[in-house]
C-alpha cells in the first residue's frame, strides 16, 4: 500500500468519525475529500498572520532556506495578486547566544565571540567592542595600533561591500558580478590572513591594541591591493552602472526618505543614499580617523540604485583613507605598555613555525618571578575592568554598530548588548517593499544587505 492511499484511508476514517458539523478543520477535511483542495500550515507566527488577512490575500512564505534571502531570513509576504501588501521578517534562525556566552568568558575572550557575529565585517565588531573596553579601562591603544586598525577596518569595509555586490548581483541574475566580487574579496582576505592568521573571525583587535605586531610585508601587501582595487571597482561600474537590467531592477525600488529612515533607525549606506550624510567616522571619530581626509558620499534618490552608487563611492573613499594612513603609518608597539592588560604582542616566527616572543619569555622565565606570576594571572583569570556602562559605536559597512557594555568590576562582562545595524535596518524592509512586486522583494532585501549572523547574534 502506497503512502498516498494510506493517507487517504486515514483521512476518510477521520471524516467518518466527525460528528460536529461546525468544526472548521473537519469541514475542510470533508471539502478536501470532495475534491476541493485545502492546504493546512501550522506554526504559531503563521496563524497570527493568516488570521489577520482578508480572503483574497495570498500568503507566501519566503525562506528561511531560500538562495536569495541572504542566509536564514524568513519573509512572510502578503500578496494581492503579484503585489506585496505586507512583509513580515521573521528572524532568529541563526541565534547563537553570543551575548550570553560572553558573560562567562573573560574580557579578552570576548573578541573571539563578537568577531563571529557579523561575519562579513568581523574587524568592526572587534573594534567596537575593544573601544568600549578600552574606554572602561581608561587606556588608549598606541598610535601604530590605531592606524593599523583604521587600515584593516577600511579594507574590511571594501571586502564587505564587495560581497554585497557579489551576492546582490547574483540575486538579480548576474553571476559575473558574483565571481568578480568574491575574487577581489579573496585578495583582501589574503591581507587579513597574513596579519592575523585567519581569513575571517580574526580576533586580531584586542583590548589595548592588536594581538600581534604587523608583519614586515604589511605595507607592501596593502600597497599592492591599493594598486589593484581601483581598476577592479571600475570594472564593476562598467558592468553595472549603465546596465539596463541593473537600472530597471533597482531604480525606484525600495525608496525610503530621510525622515522615515530615521524613525525606523536606519543608518549606514541606506541613510546616506536617502540624502543624509551621517557617518560616525565624522561625528564620533575613532582611532584617529578624523586626521584623514575623506568624503561621505550621499545621494538623494533613496532607492536601491542610490545605495549601489553610494557603496561604490564608499569603497573609493575607504581607499583614500587607507592611502593616507599608510603614508603616515607610525612605528612603535601595537599594544599598551601596561602589563596588567597587555599580552605579549611582539612575537616572531620561530624555526618551529610557532610565534613566540623570545625577549618576553627570557624575562618571565629567567629574570622576574613577579613577571611570571603576572603572566600566569593574565593568562588564566584575565584582567579586571572597572565597573560602569559604556556605549561605543563605530560606522560598520551596514551602519551604526554599537556595543553597550556593562561591567561590575570583575574579569568578565556583566552584560554586552550589541546594536546590530542589520537587525535594525531589516525593520525598514516592510515599508520599502509595500506596493512592489515579489521580484522586487529580492532587490530590496539585497540592497539592505542584512547579514544574518549579525541579525540573530
Amino acid at each position: 500500500m502506497s503512502d498516498t492511499t494510506l493517507h487517504g484511508t486515514e483521512a476518510a476514517e477521520a471524516a467518518d468519525r466527525a460528528t460536529s458539523a461546525d468544526d472548521p478543520t473537519l469541514a475542510a477535511l470533508r471539502a478536501g475529500l470532495e475534491g476541493e483542495s485545502e492546504l493546512f500550515v501550522e506554526g504559531a507566527d503563521w496563524e497570527s498572520v493568516a488570521d489577520a488577512v482578508r480572503d483574497e490575500t495570498l500568503i507566501v512564505n519566503m525562506g528561511p532556506q531560500h538562495p536569495s534571502t541572504h542566509g536564514v531570513l524568513r519573509l512572510v509576504l502578503e500578496l494581492d495578486g503579484e503585489t506585496v501588501t505586507n512583509l513580515t521578517p521573521i528572524i532568529g534562525y541563526l541565534h547563537t547566544g553570543i551575548e550570553k556566552s560572553a558573560e562567562y568568558r573573560n574580557w579578552v575572550q570576548g573578541t573571539t565571540f563578537f568577531t563571529r557575529m557579523d561575519y562579513l565585517s568581523p574587524l568592526f565588531n572587534e573594534l567596537a567592542y575593544c573601544l568600549g573596553v578600552e574606554r572602561l579601562l581608561g587606556v588608549e591603544a598606541p598610535p601604530r595600533a590605531q592606524a593599523v586598525r583604521v587600515i584593516l577596518t577600511e579594507f574590511n569595509r571594501i571586502a564587505s561591500h564587495l560581497v554585497w555586490l557579489a551576492t546582490g548581483g547574483m540575486e538579480l541574475g548576474s553571476t559575473t558580478v558574483m565571481t568578480y566580487g568574491f575574487r577581489e574579496r579573496e585578495h583582501i582576505l589574503d591581507l587579513f590572513e597574513s596579519q592575523s592568521g585567519l581569513r575571517m573571525n580574526h580576533a586580531y583587535i584586542r583590548p589595548g591594541g592588536l594581538a600581534n605586531q604587523v608583519t614586515d610585508d604589511f605595507v607592501a601587501r596593502a600597497e599592492a591591493l591599493l594598486r589593484r582595487l581601483p581598476e577592479k571597482i571600475g570594472e564593476f561600474e562598467d558592468l553595472l552602472t549603465e546596465n539596463p537590467i541593473w537600472n530597471d531592477r533597482l531604480r525606484g525600488v525600495g525608496v525610503i526618505d530621510v525622515e522615515r529612515a530615521l524613525a525606523l533607525g536606519v543608518t549606514g549606506p541606506l541613510l546616506r543614499a536617502a540624502g543624509l550624510g551621517h557617518d560616525l567616522r565624522r561625528t564620533d571619530p575613532y582611532c584617529g580617523i578624523e586626521q584623514y581626509d575623506f568624503d561621505v558620499p550621499t545621494d538623494t534618490a533613496g532607492d536601491s540604485y542610490a545605495r549601489y552608487t553610494v557603496r561604490i563611492e564608499e569603497m573609493r573613499q575607504s581607499m583614500r583613507i587607507i592611502r593616507q594612513a599608510l603614508d603616515t603609518l607610525p612605528s612603535g608597539p601595537v599594544m599598551v605598555a601596561d602589563r596588567r592588560i597587555a599580552m605579549p604582542s611582539q612575537q616572531q616566527l620561530g624555526a618551529d613555525g610557532m610565534g613566540n616572543d623570545p625577549a618576553y619569555i627570557r624575562h618571565i622565565m629567567g629574570e622576574s618571578m613577579e613577571a611570571l606570576i603576572n603572566h600566569f594571572k593574565l593568562s588564566t583569570e584575565g584582567f579586571t575592568v572597572p565597573a560602569g556602562q559604556v556605549y561605543s559605536a563605530v560606522e560598520s559597512p551596514r551602519g551604526e554598530l554599537g556595543y553597550a557594555i556593562t561591567s561590575i568590576g570583575s574579569n568578565k562582562p556583566w552584560r554586552v548588548h550589541v546594536r546590530e545595524p542589520s537587525f535594525v535596518n531589516l525593520q525598514a524592509a516592510r515599508e520599502m517593499t509595500r506596493g512592489h512586486q515579489v521580484a522586487d522583494v529580492i532587490a530590496v532585501v539585497a540592497s539592505i544587505d542584512p547579514v544574518m549572523g549579525g541579525v540573530d547574534r
Binding site: 528572524i91 561625528t283 561621505v296 552584560r415
Partner: protein, 204 residues
C-alpha cells in the same frame, strides 16, 4: 558628492542634563566615562523620549539602541577563579531585583548622545512602549521582552523575536538556569547543571 556635517550645536553633558532637568524636575543624572545617563521612571519615560525628540536643543532624531540589563535580588559572588587560586571574589548585593532598560539617543543634527535608564522591578517588569515615539523601538523591545521578560504596554506585536516561539523563560536574566534544561531537537535530552555533574561525566 556633497559632504554634509552636523549643523547644530553639540551640547556638553552638563548642559544636556540641565536642559532635561529644567523640563522634568527631579530627574537624576550622572556622568561616567564621558557619557551622560539620565535616570527616568516608567511614568515619565514616554514624555521624556518625546521631549528629547521634539526639543530643538536636544533634538535626538535617532533611537540608537535599546537594551536591558538584569540586576537580580540578593547577594551574588562574582567568581574569579575561586577553586584553583583563592583569588578574591567580588560580592554584588541588591535589595530588590530590577531590570534596567537603557535607551541610547543620538542627535544627528547636534552630534551628542545620551542614555536614558529606567529600572523596573524584575518580578513583573512592565514599561510603556516607545514605539509611538521611535518606530525603531519595535524590534528592540521585542528583543528585550524575549531576553529579559520586560512587557511593553501598547507594543503592536510583542512576541519573541530571536528565541523560538514556544521557548520558556528569558535567557538573559541572571536567574535563568545554565544547563539543567532540556536540549531541544536532541530527543529532549536532559543535561544537568554544572554543579550537579560528576566531574568526569561526559555529556554527549
Amino acid at each position: 558628492m556633497s559632504t554634509p556635517t552636523a549643523t547644530g550645536t553639540r551640547l556638553a553633558n552638563d548642559a544636556l542634563a540641565a536642559r532635561l532637568t529644567a523640563r522634568f524636575s527631579g530627574l537624576a543624572s550622572d556622568e561616567a566615562y564621558g557619557e551622560l545617563t539620565v535616570h527616568a521612571d516608567a511614568a515619565t519615560l514616554v514624555d521624556l523620549l518625546t521631549f528629547c525628540r521634539d526639543d530643538d536643543a536636544v533634538g535626538c532624531e535617532l533611537l540608537a539602541d535599546l537594551s536591558g540589563v538584569h540586576w537580580p535580588r540578593g547577594g551574588h559572588d562574582i567568581e574569579l577563579q575561586p577553586t584553583t587560586t583563592g583569588w578574591p571574589t567580588f560580592r554584588l548585593s541588591q535589595e530588590e531585583g530590577r531590570v534596567e532598560v537603557l535607551y541610547v539617543l543620538r542627535s544627528i543634527r547636534h552630534g551628542h548622545v545620551l542614555r536614558i535608564a529606567v529600572a523596573v522591578d524584575d518580578e513583573d517588569p512592565r514599561l510603556p512602549t516607545a514605539t509611538g515615539v521611535y518606530e525603531t523601538a519595535n524590534f528592540h523591545e521585542r528583543e528585550v521582552y524575549d531576553f529579559l521578560g520586560v512587557e511593553f504596554d501598547g507594543h503592536p506585536d510583542l512576541t519573541r523575536i530571536l528565541m523560538p516561539d514556544d521557548w520558556v523563560g528569558h535567557p538573559h536574566r541572571k536567574d535563568y538556569p545554565l544547563g539543567g534544561v532540556d536540549v531541544p531537537y536532541k530527543h529532549d535530552k536532559h543535561v544537568p547543571p554544572p554543579d550537579e555533574r560528576a566531574i568526569r561525566e561526559v555529556i554527549r
